[in-house]
Assembly symmetry: C2
Homo-oligomer: 147 residues x 2
């Protein structure tokens, strides 16, 4: 097995969710507005981000200490494999969310649709591009009759 990979926080996510229990299940269920603070040393990387209405952020599930292979999602009573759910307790504690970008002020991005704990370390930001990210003819397995 290959060696470990080191990554570093490039910012901090500020939200209204101070506890795990407060967090909505996914951004689509959230109208919460918050701020993504990109550390000053990475601010130059935001050039032209304001042209995008949505961004996909990668972040560290910093409160998750467990690495589980199964879990019970919020939307179901059944146990599923961790790669068939989005639960934080997974082998690598990385989350992804696509958020609406409201405005940029220097190194701060005001966003809506947040489902992320206050103080969460930011790992990456990628532009959301429907041609790449929007998929047709989708099956959603166990979730099919839950949403």
């Amino acid at each position: 097995m290959s060696g470990s990979i080191e990554i570093k926080p490039i910012g901090i996510i500020h939200s209204n969710y101070k506890k795990k229990e407060d967090i909505p299940i996914q951004p689509r269920f959230s109208k919460s507005i918050g701020e993504i603070e990109v550390f000053k040393e990475f601010e130059d990387g935001l050039k032209d981000i304001e042209g995008f209405s949505h961004i996909t952020v990668l972040f560290h599930f910093h409160k998750s200490k467990k690495e589980l292979l199964h879990g019970k999602p919020f939307l179901d009573k059944e146990i599923h494999g961790v790669f068939a759910i989005r639960h934080p307790d997974r082998p690598n504690h990385i989350g992804i969310s696509t958020l609406k970008l409201i405005r940029r002020k220097d190194n701060i991005l005001e966003v809506s649709g947040l489902d992320i704990l206050d103080g969460t370390p930011l790992i990456d930001i990628k532009p959301y591009v429907p041609l790449f990210d929007k998929i047709k003819n989708v099956k959603i397995g166990w979730l099919g009759d839950k949403i």
Copy 2:
């Protein structure tokens, strides 16, 4: 600034792309079929994944050694901030792609739409769920007149 975060490969991505130059720009431009090998110790985490037609994989841009804040994407002649493009040379070398899941054989997922270099370390798999991931009324900044 917060400390570093350690993550580990949970598998290997097998594709037809042996060199960076061979890789299509994004999965939507690729019909390439390949295999995602999840290491045996994580195989249990795949339970119920076969119900999903698409998966989002996180992987390590293991051939990228540079951490740049600007870059010129394949689709443009202009320089943009690294967070407004998807180039591998970024502060954290993590890529994401949404792929079509053709079938599962034990710990092997056969997928299509690959835009990933052969031998790339796999970091995570998440189910693709349109309600969460498909966004309406999108603006795509500098990419608007390129695609």
